[in-house]
């Protein structure tokens, strides 16, 4: 069974800078790490492989330094990895990102099961998985919280809905996005680090893709535009009360009464 896990490099902290003009993130020089939610996706793949055998590939789109998260995936047990990297991919929104990844997936060959994280900690949209499935023309199920059974031609999973839990059987090839806590991710192993330190990371750029139309990638291929970025507003219409505890209690009591929360 061939499993493909999609992993993204994200800033190591939430304090990041944005290019005022383009609204695109300044990622250079910012400490980065693997999107924490993707660790759950990778762990899910590793558990499936433990039970059923097969091969795990990882794929990422990003700048050249994103190779580091592919190395990290090797240290956790991934067999194979590729990076999609090209200046022409820069500034991509969800649509352009998903299209690029779907072209990359076609390039690296068939996968029975594609696993994505639930969302990222930077863009935070949770939209990339479903859009890739659409571009590949395969079914997907989001918010998977449990793998129930791997059959020969399909996978049975549990999907978390607001008021219900649904058990569904999806035919291969398909894509799932997994909830955190589906499995506890393992730590990278030092032994694997030594074993995999020379393992190849394939790098593909636009010229390797079937569809070389530049207008479909990066900022050009992005229907959404970030017009401006700003800090969350603070509420200026407020009262701050100070004083001794009796005064404070009196004020609070009166306010609750005025607002009719106390009859």
């Amino acid at each position: 069974m061939d499993i493909l896990v999609l992993i993204k490099q994200v800033p190591g902290t939430n304090k990041v800078e944005v290019d005022e003009k383009t609204g695109v993130l300044k990622r250079d020089g910012v400490d980065s790490k693997m999107n924490p939610y993707d660790l759950y996706a990778l762990e899910t793949a590793l558990r499936i492989k433990q039970n059923k055998g097969g091969k795990i590939s990882v794929l990422s789109m990003g700048p050249p330094q994103a190779e580091s998260i592919i190395k990290e995936a090797y240290m956790m047990g991934a067999d194979d990895g590729a990076l999609l990297s090209d200046r022409k991919f820069a500034g991509a929104d969800v649509l352009a990102t998903s299209y690029t990844l779907s072209q990359g997936i076609k390039k690296i060959g068939k996968a029975d099961l594609i696993i994505c994280g639930k969302q990222t900690t930077d863009g935070d949209t949770a939209q990339v998985g479903p859009e890739i499935a659409e571009f590949l023309g395969i079914p997907h199920v989001a918010n998977v919280r449990k793998i129930i059974e791997i059959k020969e031609k399909s996978i049975v999973v549990e999907m978390d809905m607001p008021e219900t839990v649904e058990i569904v059987d999806i035919k291969f090839p398909c894509l799932i996005t997994v909830e955190k806590d589906i499995f506890q991710p393992r730590l990278p192993s030092y032994k694997k680090k030594l074993e995999t330190k020379d393992r190849e990371i394939k790098v593909f750029s636009l010229k390797d893709f079937d569809d070389k139309n530049e207008k479909k990638y990066g900022l050009n291929g992005s229907p959404t535009q970030v017009e401006r970025i700003f800090p969350p507003s603070v509420n200026n219409d407020k009262e701050i009360w100070q004083g001794n505890s009796d005064e404070l209690t009196e004020k609070l009591y009166k306010k609750l009464k005025d607002l009719k929360f106390i009859q």
Binding site: E134, P162, P223, T224, Q225, P232, S245, L248, F261, I262
Partner: protein, 339 residues
Amino acid sequence: EEDIPQIDKNKWKGICVYVDHVEGNIHPVTFELIGKARELASKINHPVYAVFIGENIKDKAEEILHYGVDEVFLYDNKELVDFRIEPYTACFEDFINKIKPSIILVGATTVGRSLAPRVAARFRTGLTADCTVLDVKENTDLVQIRPAFGGNIMAQINTPNTRPQLATVRYKVMSAPQRNDEKSGKITLMDIEKEKLNSNIEVISVTKKEKEVSISDAEVIIACGRGVKSQKDFEMIKELCDLIGAQIAVTRPLIEAGWADAKRQIGLSGRTVKPKLIITCGISGAVQFTAGMRGSDCIIAINKDEKAPIFNVAHYGIVGDLYEVLPRLIEKIKVSKGA
């Protein structure tokens, strides 16, 4: 950039809301979005539509007519009884091709977050996630404001040259309109070819989760943070909750300490709440927390540190010790109730 052909925005008319439901039970986010759609539509003089995909949902569609839509488009087939991505996307595609709405609003529920991106990709158009503010320009461009980076940044996003424009919005972010006694608007039954409703997904079972009180639905919430020193102090908080009809909620550290069920966590990695009143007790006001409650109608914060960031979002800030204020408040309320 070289000359990219501009689309004709006049060919796309109407603001559409996806009717989110499981087995015909309409999710309340739907009504909130209808309210928003009406507000936007009146600015650009567009109609408000709803698209409803399922089985045996005619009666439920009637209910939507009480909330001020012009037309409900109904896809009612037995293949649509459960949410499965391919047939639902096919219906949505059919609707968009036939009606050409300018804007589509989808609730950021499990279903909505799965369906909206699939539809957006099919039409190669933009989708903005988890919008907290929506407005519309004269040229029908949707102004979409959303938090990213765990709420540390707000982004204003535009979809200037593709249609339809899609946005998702979480439950309890917008306000639902009043239900009218009278119905208005009409229901239109849509036809779709059976072959389009095939799926590689088989739904084996749908089990109701145990009905739990959800803090998302609470009108009054008392939220506790690490300023509450021990789990047994919850007794005092619960007593106050009972007196004012509140639900108890907590910050993430208290979940990590195992003091409360994860469903009671407010914030980015918890629930979004929008009660009429929230009283925060010993909560510092990290953005990850406030992201889940800043929409509340009235926020009262109790914190002994006057510099705590919670005072930036609070309407009434009480600089004081919760162990001094709350017992006195409880006493006062009890006395007033004659207990």
